[in-house]
């Protein structure tokens, strides 16, 4: 079982929404579409579901061409960012609706709805209407409806984006478990790199209608193919600066930062270095750290992490440290970069050296 997109392209009028895309999602995998808004995640999902037709190209499912097939005939489920339930149906009827259509007998329906409701902690709410539920429960209902019918393809379009922080954390932990032991392909669209890392599986990074890179989530994270992929897969945004290599010595930012690194087999010359915010910290981390000075622009706390924006040589930098470190705005500060974690890109923005 697999889902294949072959040379899929989507244009609306003169605008290209999806550039030529080839993707293969294998059986029993969770696949993450990672990209900012308008990257084309939703369009791509609609094409996969059959709600939208590609302008050119084919979609193959289980070795069959399903490009023109109506969505009703494909065995797919979908969950949206908005909590979409049928407002006039009770929770039970909502979950049961895809089963009712297939004409399964009532006893079987009651049994299966009961099981899935148990799994999603909805058992006590089956007689309520969706608008009597909290946001989290509404989304659980939508998830239950997607899971109840044993579809081969489950599409989740930013399912956690409209939930508040605590509920999001809770449901995000449950999600991968829900798909265990299921014979299906899961596609999960999100704007949050942390979602992708937590869920694992495979990730496709998207930018402006193009699939930049597809592979195992951890590999895409550690070895972003190019600068764009690295940018998509970093939140807060990755710091990028030009760097000069002469021998083992690297110089950054008009000679203000300098370090030596052995074992980097690159020709001398100009490169770009990508430094993820959590590799710039207020404390030394790792064995090889280098100092960077800057003027604090913004210093904010989020949970148990401190986000510090600072300026050095006309570039704005973002750093993310564990623990709470309050710094005064305008103050000159010293931070440390872990040089072992640097990503190097050549002048055409392709990765040349990874961690």
């Amino acid at each position: 079982m697999s889902l294949e997109l072959k040379r899929v392209e989507k244009k609306i009028g003169q605008d290209t929404h999806i550039y030529r895309t080839d993707l293969v999602f294998k059986k029993n995998t969770i696949n993450i579409l990672l990209g900012s808004t308008l990257a084309g995640k939703t369009t791509l999902m609609q094409i996969m579901a059959g709600l939208d037709k590609p302008t050119s190209g084919e979609i193959w499912f289980n070795g069959k061409d399903v490009t023109g097939q109506a969505v009703q005939k494909r065995n797919v489920s979908m969950v949206y960012q908005q909590f979409i339930n049928y407002p006039n149906f009770t929770v039970f009827e909502n979950i049961a609706s895809p089963l009712k259509i297939t004409g399964i007998n009532n006893k079987e329906i009651t049994k299966r709805v009961g099981e899935i409701a148990e799994l999603l902690k909805l058992s006590g709410m089956l007689d309520k209407k969706p608008n009597e539920l909290s946001g989290g429960q509404q989304q659980r209902t939508a998830l239950a409806r997607a899971l109840v019918k044993d579809s081969g393809l489950i599409l989740l379009d930013e399912p956690l984006a409209n939930l508040d922080f605590k509920l999001r954390e809770e449901l995000r932990e449950e999600l991968p478990k829900l798909f265990e032991n299921r014979d299906c392909i899961v596609v999960y669209a999100t704007t949050e790199p942390s979602d992708a890392l937590l869920i694992g599986g495979n990730t496709a990074t998207l930018m402006e209608g193009k699939v930049i890179q597809y592979g195992k989530t951890i590999e895409v994270y550690n070895k972003p193919k190019n600068l764009i992929s690295a940018k998509v897969f970093s939140d807060p945004p990755i710091n990028i600066s030009e760097v000069n290599k002469v021998g083992d010595s690297f110089t950054l930012l008009k000679d203000s930062v300098r370090w030596n690194a052995k074992n980097i087999n690159l020709k001398d010359g100009k490169y770009k270095v990508g430094i993820r915010p959590h590799n710039i910290t207020t404390y030394k981390e790792g064995n090889n750290s280098v100092e960077i000075k800057g003027k604090i622009l913004i210093s904010e706390l989020s949970g148990s992490e401190s986000l510090i924006h600072f300026r050095n040589a006309n570039l704005d930098w973002v750093s993310l440290s564990n623990g709470t470190h309050q710094m005064n705005v305008g103050q000159d500060a010293k931070l440390y970069m872990n040089i072992d974690e640097f990503l190097y890109f050549d002048e055409s923005n392709n990765l040349v050296k990874h961690v």
Partner: protein, 250 residues
């Protein structure tokens, strides 16, 4: 409230009292006027005719406007915005303008003096209005609801009837109310297009002049009764109307 009070006040008086004395409440309280209306066939058929064509028009308008409003809300097609606006401009012409063409047209196809003739002619201004109101309600429903239903295996019509219509029932309620009201109060077309068989109550009222002049008490009672259907409908849709105002379409 004063004109309504005065109307009610008059309806419980005799015509003689209305003409000859000034009184804030009926001196000789009487149900005579109402009894006449409910027992005299020429009177109560006027109400029945009116209610008949108004209901017909309401059902026709909503039935035609629902698919149209759905299309305007969900699909993009060439000139959709212009068409949508043009629909509304139909309401800007006074219905009187269309009295003559309707009269001539219905006469020539033998629909003159039938309920359906009046009901259809009222569609002229009620369908655009219904499309306008319903489009607002439909656009407030995310299109993801439609998609979810298709993904679940619903065909379009099954989804439309089982899920979509119940979802926008408030909008349909309001639309019916407005269609009902505009059709109920419209006189000119209703009078022009009918003679005997489908004569509306308003026409009956203006045609009751006896030898002793207008039967004022009777007229007042008939007038009071015309308020009742509207009041009943408002009672049922009062909660929906607030929602409609919130959407800015009422």
């Amino acid at each position: 409230m004063l004109p309504i009070y005065w109307l009610l006040n008059m309806s419980f008086k005799t015509t003689t009292e209305i003409i000859n004395t000034y009184s804030l409440w009926p001196q000789k309280f009487t149900f005579e006027n109402y009894i006449t209306i409910f027992t005299d066939k020429t009177w109560y058929t006027g109400y029945l005719n009116s209610i008949y064509y108004v209901l017909m028009n309401t059902v026709l308008s909503v039935a035609a406007a629902l698919p149209a409003a759905y299309a305007f809300s969900r699909y993009k097609f060439l000139g959709d915005k212009h068409l949508f606006f043009w629909l509304l401009t139909n309401r800007m012409a006074p219905p009187a303008v269309f009295a003559l063409p309707f009269f001539q047209f219905y006469s020539s196809i033998n629909l003159f003096d039938t309920h359906i003739a009046v009901a259809l002619s009222h569609c002229l201004f009620n369908i655009p209005l219904a499309v306008w109101i319903l489009e607002g309600f439909i656009s407030a429903v995310p299109k993801e609801l439609d998609e979810t239903a298709y993904v679940d295996g619903y065909s379009f019509w099954r989804f439309f009837i089982k899920i979509f219509i119940p979802t926008i029932v408030a909008g349909i309620g309001i639309t019916m109310f407005f269609c009902f009201m505009f059709s109920w109060v419209e006189l000119l077309l209703a009078k022009t297009l009918t003679a005997v068989a489908a004569k509306p109550i308003a026409a009956t009222m203006t045609r009751t002049v006896s030898t002793s002049g207008y039967e004022l008490g009777l007229l007042a009672a008939a007038g009071s009764l015309t308020i009742i259907p509207g009041a009943i409908v408002i009672y049922f849709v009062r909660n929906y109307i607030a929602k409609g105002f919130a959407l800015g379409r009422v």
